[in-house]
Symmetry: D2
Subunit: 499 residues, 4 copies
């Protein structure tokens, strides 16, 4: 909940779909894409784009992009326009860099000598400056600031284009992967296939699902394949979780099915570096990463927190809704009763209150209703998933006290955030992070709590990895190693950063 206020956010979600069987397909590909994108909306709310292809030779692509939520950007007319596709990819975007907003919308589509390709990207290339310079030195003008355009130009650039009948895109993708180590989960559409690519560190998630017939859910012949930043999008379109794209893997998805083409290795000795904050905050709780449900990991974090930082209070509660799994975990582990103390006013959103008014001071109080009778006269431990700047938990504590809580303790189900992310997450500057401020020494006093404690980095890592190891042993022999990026907590980045 802190994140929303503090401007921390995932930068993108990607989604793709290929209809199986005879083409033109009976499957409403544009609708599957739209619903899939809606289910990834929490990963980006600034713009949305869909590109579909009819898969013919040469293919016809249709494309629509718009600012705002998927529901805003895709009016019925736009969907109608896209309806003839047999496959397609789409993208939802959080923040805007570069000099023209809509132009930065993905997927990015370009004509090359070998035909039109479309690219959707989640992540952030750590060496994008050097790569941009390289591309421009070759005489290419770059029209947006997006990594997505950069990737398309890199794909087009090397090795030199020749007029071939069968262009070797896979070779070009492998070449791209040697140029940039991380971070990217990519969907590349060319005519009748989608290449799903994950960087060798597996920093950003990417999962594959099978689109099964709705009415006969367990029938053998599938109706299509989908690929998504998060598996939470599968259920809303009637798809079943199939598997993750592995770190470094290039997967080809076509009407004929899913085929692993290659797995590009990491430098010797490097571990995978899947973003641990996908577990802590970004992902939807029903998504599955590395074989485990995000909700379960958060619950384990709550249990671990109860072990590391117990409290002597009357009840455990949550800052709804994201901290609820951790709060329930804390309650289970501690044996304290779980009680709701706040209810959310889901209509608050944007009301056009002028900035410098008395009511502004109410701040976050506008967003929550206080369930007074549930805690008046009692001692409360409130579980939050993170504290970024510290200026939003503070009014909540005040509300609870005014409504009669005798003590308010804060337990945070993740360690303090101290470092910037260069791999796709939008984090406030180092100076804005409460953990880097002098006030952090007396954080409880600063935010008005009776006590504040955080989960340790070790506690978090073990809560995350505990579930994976068992999963690995049983299921995925190819998962040789386990590792997570904790850079924002520890400052240890998975690759050396160039400037």
């Amino acid at each position: 909940m802190e994140f929303e206020e503090s401007g921390i956010g995932e930068e993108c979600g990607v989604f793709g779909c290929v209809a199986a069987g005879e083409w033109p397909t009976q499957l409403e590909v544009a609708q599957v894409l739209t619903l899939g994108l809606v289910a990834l909306q929490h990963r980006g709310q600034e713009s949305a784009g869909i590109v579909t292809s009819n898969g013919a030779s040469p293919p016809t692509y249709t494309s629509h992009k718009g600012m705002g939520l998927v529901s805003t950007a895709f009016a019925p007319e736009a969907l109608l326009q896209l309806r003839y596709g047999n496959l397609g990819i789409c993208h939802t975007r959080y923040s805007t860099t570069g000099f023209s907003e809509l132009q930065n919308c993905q997927p990015f589509v370009v004509d090359t000598l070998h035909g039109r390709i479309a690219v959707a990207h989640n992540g952030e290339l750590v060496n994008s400056r050097a790569l941009r310079k390289k591309v421009m030195r070759h005489g290419v003008g770059l029209s947006t600031g997006s990594d997505s355009e950069l990737i398309t130009q890199l794909l087009a650039l090397t090795p030199p284009m020749e007029e071939l009948d069968t262009p070797d895109w896979v070779a070009r993708i492998k070449n791209l992967m040697t140029e940039t180590p991380t971070s990217y989960s990519l969907l590349i559409m060319f005519k009748d296939v989608i290449y799903a690519v994950r960087d060798p560190y597996g920093n950003r998630p990417l999962s594959i699902g099978r689109l099964v017939p709705i009415s006969r859910l367990h029938k053998e012949d599938t109706e299509g394949w989908v690929v998504s930043s998060e598996s939470c999008s599968f259920q809303s379109i009637g798809a079943k979780y199939y598997r993750e794209v592995l770190p470094g893997e290039i997967v080809q998805i076509s009407r004929f099915g899913v085929k692993s083409l290659s797995v590009i290795p990491r430098p010797e000795g490097d571990l995978p570096a899947f973003c641990i904050f996908e577990y802590v905050y970004f992902a939807r709780p029903d998504s599955i990463f590395e074989g485990q449900m995000v909700y379960t990991v958060r619950q384990r974090c709550g249990r671990q927190l109860a072990i590391e930082a117990p409290t002597d209070v009357d009840l455990v509660s949550t800052v709804p809704e994201s901290a609820t799994p951790a709060a329930l975990g804390y309650a289970q582990q501690s044996g304290l009763p779980y009680t709701e103390v706040l209810c959310k006013n889901r209509y608050v959103g944007r009301t056009f209150i002028q900035p410098n008014t008395r009511l502004r001071q109410l701040g976050v109080a506008k967003k929550f209703g206080v369930l007074t009778d549930n805690f008046a006269g009692k001692r409360v431990v409130l579980i939050d998933d993170s504290i970024v700047r510290g200026n939003t938990i503070s009014p909540i504590i005040k509300l609870l006290r005014e409504a009669g809580a005798t003590e308010v303790h804060i337990r945070v189900a993740s360690p303090p955030i101290k470092f910037p992310c260069y791999m796709g997450i939008n984090i406030p500057t180092k100076e804005e992070l409460i953990a880097n401020k002098p006030e952090f020494k007396d954080i409880a006093g600063y935010i008005g709590a009776d006590s504040v404690e955080y989960l340790t980095v070790e506690g978090l890592v073990s809560a995350v990895q505990e579930g994976i190891s068992s999963f690995q042993k049983e299921n995925v022999s190819s998962y040789k190693e386990v590792g997570h990026c904790t850079a924002c907590l520890t400052g240890k980045y998975p690759v050396e950063l160039e400037w």
Copy 2:
């Protein structure tokens, strides 16, 4: 949660504010009104309107109305335009009757011989047909189908208007109350006062709050008074709960404070008839009615349900979010663990999917993510707050079974709805209600559950009234009697219906 799908809904919310102290006030009345209205948004999403008055002689009124949510209807320019008011009333509306949408927006404002009045109404006049005819027979043309216009014309009509210096609006309001027994909670603004009126049966809620200085929350001199359909709106504007308007009471709210002018009695022998469904479903859980928090009543309903209809299962869960208090109550009473099995996709809203497509069949599944690992291989009792048509709980049960629930039992924290409401609630026709269909005999089979049980009417009434009696004894000596309208469950309407 069923309600949203089935079209059951509250028809209105009303809110008013009077600044205390010197006028022109320093209080941003228009902003208080807007925020207050946002907190009542769950009572109506189709249109919103605000009317402010500067309170002078003669007064200047400013007004803005718009379709959609408050945030849509009130752009910054609109607020700017309203900013000079010293008092005001506002309204949010659910459904549209009559022949012109925006025209039916409230508050309704008219010029009378005695000056301009504005009226905001929550409820539905049981004898509106007869009253419309009466008004029209007097030679008045009615430009909307709304009760709100009808009320203004009735106020203007009788007794005959004369050019008086001090029109007796209170006499007119009393006269109105003799013409129509229920249901209405009314705000009537005239120049510098708001009259807050509740019908003798108290069918619709209405509460008063004190607007205290934000920065010095407990200071003596208040900054204003507010009046609202629900007390949940008080917190978001920094107001404190003061008291309810009593059934039949006329309260005058002015810059000088709150004054009870009169309490119109019910016919001998009639009990109050506050809508029991405000507790069951409509109200926000942090609102206070009859001295008790709605959340607490819902929790008691869950406990009562556990007593009346126990189950032998592994875990208790909820259809988020409205059934959660009842589910927690059921868990506490039964001793079963409370576990989340579904998470909500808050971005679903309106996506423009054509009606007759394959994806339409997915229905409610689009709205929920399934937290598989929390219940796979287990027996679940799912608490819902009501079942109206039965066509939305069904796909949820299917989802849970497919994800591995071995048994799914449904317990409903309210009795079956069997009868229409003529007092302000939008309910499907008798034929559409599942409780009136032949399938109801085997409701479990029909919706695919292992068992289905409802709370009894007696159980509901006792769960509601249990909290009031203690409240009454301790606090409100004037509350002589307790009674609730259960017409939609029992067919017993508080007054005889005319046709």
Copy 3:
């Protein structure tokens, strides 16, 4: 052209249509109404409204209103919604009085004891204050500031409504006409008829047309009847001019044809008072009033101006486009060549230039291109149709001089405006009118012209009436008298004004 800048404008246009033949009609009544309204758009651009009726017992009315131009207010969905009507009336509106914009949109529709009526009004009731008080004294609340609502309530009010099978609306209309002498052209729709009414002074125009089959233009059986503020709207819907509604006349238009029901007389000795500015400026040049084409009248004004105020110059030109007929008349009478010196930039409209900038000073120059080669080195007489505030002709003169005109003389094809209008025209306050300012003595110097002369009132009246007399003799025996309202020029109002 001056008018646009100076805020002078017509206040309304009304239009109605009744399909002839079998109902449900094959005629697209809503489309005829929309196109008819578009052709009256010059009479009001602030809002538009259409109400249609299916003509059944009881009738179903459909209604749509919106702010802005017809093309903005009537999206395809709105038209679709209205499509089942067999008859309908509509309205386009210029200015907004009263406290709620959209609410003031016409037609005004009300339910009365005798059923629903809809009223569209062009004009302004001279005694509206007294009438409002009368209505309110009867106990009626008035929800808008519009005369249109006032008229509907007056129609409903007296004589007392009784539950009759056949309400006598005509008696009610006659009664209304005794209550208010002017100014109004009214369309009143009740179930299956439209009553077209013009006040006894005939101050505002109203004409009837026959809607003939498009493909067989001269066939006998018509497809419907239309009634409009101006006959210019007939051609755009394939209708033929039939006749004017006479001053004081009540005409009933139904599927069975057009029937004159009554002609209410003026007080003895009073002449008709058709607004002379309809000829001078407001009406479209192809409209017909009193048997003569507006363009022809304007041309005659130009000829008369050449007689009254000749010039010794090289060429005659126009401020496009409204002054062109007068300029051509001036050229014909004077024998001077007619030459264009300005071309209009039709895209200027609203560009969002901040008020206090250097470019603001360019003013009207943005709107016109100067055709330098046509007049450089020459003496020009520029014909304008009126000068209201004098601040727009001034930059044009400057433009012409800078481009090389050696002399610029201004001749105005109407007399100076000196008095306010209380009968439906929006005119700046007396103080803003250039003719009432001290500068008017040296108007030429003030605006930078070599000379300025106006048409005399006598010249204007004779140019207007010259065409009517011949028309009368030949065609309309019932037209006993000729007279025009020249109040804004002379201060002589057709009726005594009450305050």
Copy 4:
């Protein structure tokens, strides 16, 4: 007027401005650009874009693009955002090619190794296919179908980019001009200068103006420089016509003034090929090309037409508004009186009438009012500027006959259009052009006229060139040759077309 209906249209307009004097400038560059663009709106209504630069090292560019008219695309916020520029270029666009609408909006902006450049283009590269292939073979992906992007990539591509302090853009522009002969008028903005470039054939227009202080119009020190597709835009921003960019010329415009850098020659023996249809139809009448006002040329065309194709009628008239200069010329030459027979309904625009209705048949009649009394009983010659498909003049003739014209003769002030344009004009396919249909043999019968005659190609060319020769002799010694592109009339294209 025919053009609008038939889809013939100019494809673009370009405009640029550089503030002179100290930077940051006091000149509102964004406002000058917006007003300049509005004055070019007739050259493209589908989208508009502005890019401004602060001119610093490195420069900051701000950019805004939008669909629709300038007034729609540039809301006040957009202008506010652009306000800090010291120079800028902008573009208005007619038609959409390529696969994403807004993406095709110009100016096109790219980052190159040498910094960011912005390009606005009017015209169409005759060899764009070959050039696209060349660029793509180099490994560049092209994200739009626009020539503008192609030009930026060509500029970036060759000769190879090196990291220089002072990149030689002029050499790159010269290189571009050797790659493609025509047609283009280009504005290229780089940091603090605008390069204005016209192809060696001078196919598209481009003029330079001096922005003088508004209040002291003749002062020596200018406030800036502007460059525009048409000089008509100068007046609306207070600029004075300076000169044309010559065919093949590269002009540098900076805060220090205007400097001619180079003139690239045409192949030996080739004449200039300025589009003759700019004179006939596209340009605004107050624009100046080759030293003469467009209006004057059109008038000469009318005179020439009267010589080539006289008629024995009572009056000459025009299809307003574009044919009016020719009609006045015809009247002057023939001695026949000039009379208006049609007036335009300027509000028609888009009304949402469904396609297959009775009213559709009314067609163009909706757009015009008939001034019956001006021509009833008379013989009319109607001057039109061109006939493309012949389906719009036809209903006009019918209207005039029905209103009483005894004869209707058509004279067209340009020759028949027979061939497609590949140099920037949107013309219907060869098959759709009336001049290529069998019906053309009896064109008068086909459109219902008493006679139809066209201006000859020779007549048109002499009417156009007559004014230039005298201008050349007197003013521009560098204009060695005169020539015009008449390809759409004669099939003689200025360069050989590649396929």
